[in-house]
């Protein structure tokens, strides 16, 4: 009896979550997959016809946006590492007793809605707004200078919006480093820089790795930043999909593009995990 219970317990534990995923994740995926293989039009309705042309057409028409999305996602991820690492490092090693306060401060802006935050960036960066206006008035910037509608605005917005998801895992990895291990490095003749390079950095890589996974995917498929901060030349694939769904109502194309993006991201993540997700990387870094 108790053996039976022991055998059933894992299933009982997974049941609520499993059911949730089955209903709200697997079912929509199947619906989407079937949508992407339908043909027809908004007026006449769509029917399932194994029409894989949506994929071919989607790729042919929107490969620019797909590549741009991947590039923006990548650029914003790199930017987040560059900005986020020192922050995580500082909180972990210099935060002292107030670490949790600093972490809270880091998360504070993110209690405001994603869209609202992005709109406030639009306000900040507007052509004659509070940031650029004064600079133009005193002649530091030319009259025609703008940040909005450029890739910089979109990449900057993406980096800003996903930053906590980069900083938190890096912080966790850094925080877990035993200070004695750093002293041991110094004791073994490593300078501060060498200690950082040979010990701190490799030991923080799992955090960076997790941070990249958590930010690259949502940044690449994001549409809010490009639509609020970008212009016609910075359209990302998320904007195209959103447009196809809600404006053109070409569901098969929208679904096919979604799956294409998903497949690309999956391949990218697996390649990335294969290349960097093992301990061997750390070993090389340690030499």
């Amino acid at each position: 009896m108790s053996r039976l219970r022991a055998a059933l317990t894992p299933y009982a534990l997974i049941f609520p979550g499993g059911l949730w995923l089955a209903i709200f994740f697997v079912v929509p995926m199947i619906v989407m997959l079937s949508l992407s293989l339908q043909s027809g039009s908004v007026e006449d309705g769509y029917a399932f016809t194994f029409n894989w042309h949506s994929y071919a057409d989607g790729l042919a028409n929107y490969h620019d946006q797909i590549i741009r999305s991947l590039l923006y996602g990548l650029a914003s991820t790199v930017l987040q590492i560059v900005i986020g690492f020192p922050v995580a490092y500082w909180i972990a090693f210099k935060g002292g007793r107030h670490k949790s306060v600093y972490l809270f401060l880091l998360l504070l802006p993110f209690l405001v809605s994603f869209v609202l935050r992005t709109i406030s960036w639009q306000f900040l960066l507007s052509d004659n707004g509070i940031l650029l206006g004064p600079l133009k008035d005193i002649g530091l910037l030319p009259e025609g200078f703008r940040v909005l509608a450029t890739p910089f605005a979109v990449i900057g917005g993406l980096a800003y919006n996903f930053l906590p998801f980069m900083v938190l895992p890096m912080y966790v990895a850094l925080e877990r480093i035993d200070p004695r291990v750093l002293e041991a490095a110094q004791d073994l003749y490593a300078s501060r820089f060498q200690t950082f390079l040979r010990v701190v950095l490799p030991l923080s890589l799992p955090g960076v790795f997790a941070g990249v996974l958590m930010t690259f995917v949502p940044a690449t498929s994001d549409y809010v930043n490009a639509s609020v901060l970008g212009g016609t030349n910075t359209t990302m694939i998320g904007n195209v999909i959103q447009n196809q769904y809600l404006v053109t109502q070409d569901y098969p194309t929208a679904s096919a593009l979604s799956f294409t993006l998903m497949a690309l991201l999956l391949v990218g993540i697996f390649a990335y995990a294969r290349a960097l997700g093992t301990d061997d990387v750390l070993e090389v870094a340690a030499r």
Partner: protein, 382 residues
């Protein structure tokens, strides 16, 4: 390398006996920490000199400042006051990576992301030793600590004892002029601990470098060290050879901390020649060597080691210290019996009796017994 001949004078002398420059020297070192706005005096003025090639132990109860001392020698803490010298050179303001000594941490502090080989090679690589030499020296030291064939293992894939040996190899491979070991065997079980004690001693003899060894295990310190500094509350209570510390503890604290010792006190009744007689009760008397500083009427604290005391049913004859008491407890310890005897004034005396002849015990609980010992086994405390 010089021989250590710490004579009787070493008990008071902070400087080593030979005329050589000491390997490590603390000169009136004070360390204060500030925590939560309060000043903690962890080390309150320690002076000691450790000779080249010496196995030197810092012994003392938890929180007495052993680790703090060690961290100042290694360079992880700046002394609030005083000077640290290594081989005669003032290094008080020299960072750890520029000091020619290595430390084995209490928790080992191995690099978790590196295998055994890379851990051990770390110091040599930082010193830009040529690859061929690194290969040779790392190979050699791994042989010394018996870890050949485990080069590719990560620390987490090894037992505590193996990790300990990696930590040792990682420090030794650099051939530092001195090695600091902060309770390196603290995490090991008794058997492994004893095996590693022998191993450490052997390695120290083989490589012939100065060892500074921190422990709060007195038997470990007694068996391994050339000299011991017994610390208490931020100060060195006694600095001497193990035998000296054991036989002639300099203070009540040392006597109580090292081994089991019986603390007694009595008033000097008379001094006859080189022996003073202390009265305890009616029939009790304690004889104690008198170096001329004892005089009648004076109160003396003294200690007697449990293994020096004989226990008997009848009053023994001769010029002995003799006290009478009642057996409160008998403990069979295998190789010996241990008795706790309560004297008339309530003092408790522990006695060890070798299990040499037969397994019968001399007295049972509740028996009235006589304890006796030779005059020179009474040791007066300052």
């Amino acid at each position: 390398m010089t021989e250590i001949q710490a004579g009787p004078g070493a008990a008071v002398a902070a400087a080593p006996v030979s005329g050589d420059v000491p390997a490590i020297e603390l000169d009136n070192v004070v360390k204060e920490y500030v925590s939560h706005g309060e000043v903690v005096r962890a080390v309150k003025g320690v002076s000691l000199a450790i000779a080249e090639g010496e196995f030197f132990s810092l012994l003392g109860p938890s929180g007495c400042g052993k680790t703090t001392n060690m961290r100042m020698i290694a360079g992880f803490e700046d002394p609030t006051q005083g000077v640290v010298r290594l081989h005669g050179e003032d290094v008080t303001n020299v960072p750890p990576n520029k000091r020619d000594i290595n430390m084995v941490f209490q928790s080992y502090a191995l690099f978790p992301h590196m295998n055994v080989w890379d851990n051990v090679a770390f110091g040599l690589r930082r010193k830009k030793v040529p690859d061929a030499e690194i290969k040779r020296r790392v190979g050699e030291i791994l042989e010394v600590v018996d870890l050949v064939g485990r080069e590719k293992r990560r620390p987490k894939e090894m037992s505590g004892g193996q990790q300990q040996r990696v930590a040792l190899a990682r420090a030794l491979v650099n051939r530092p002029r001195a090695l600091l070991l902060d309770e390196p065997l603290g995490a090991l079980d008794l058997k492994l601990r004893q095996a590693m004690q022998i191993e450490l001693k052997r390695i120290q003899r083989e490589v012939g470098i100065t060892f500074v060894y921190v422990t709060h295990d007195q038997s470990e310190a007694l068996t391994m060290s050339d000299r011991i500094a017994v610390m208490n509350d931020g100060l060195v209570e006694q600095l001497a050879e193990p035998r000296e510390i054991y036989e002639r503890p300099a203070s009540k604290f040392v006597a109580g901390f090292i081994g089991t010792s019986n603390l007694l006190s009595g008033t000097v009744q008379q001094v006859s020649g080189a022996t003073a007689v202390l009265a305890l009760g009616q029939s009790d008397r304690i004889l104690i060597p008198s170096d001329g500083t004892l005089s009648a009427g004076q109160t003396v604290d003294l200690t007697v080691r449990p293994e020096k005391i004989k226990i008997a049913k009848d009053r023994p004859e001769g010029d002995l210290s003799v006290v009478r008491g009642t057996v409160a407890e008998v403990v069979y310890l295998g190789t010996s019996n241990s008795y706790v005897v309560v004297l008339g004034d309530g003092a408790e005396i522990t006695v060890f009796e070798q299990n040499a002849h037969d397994s019968t015990i001399t007295a049972e609980r509740g028996d009235s017994v006589w304890l006796s010992w030779q005059p020179w086994h009474s040791y007066a405390l300052r």
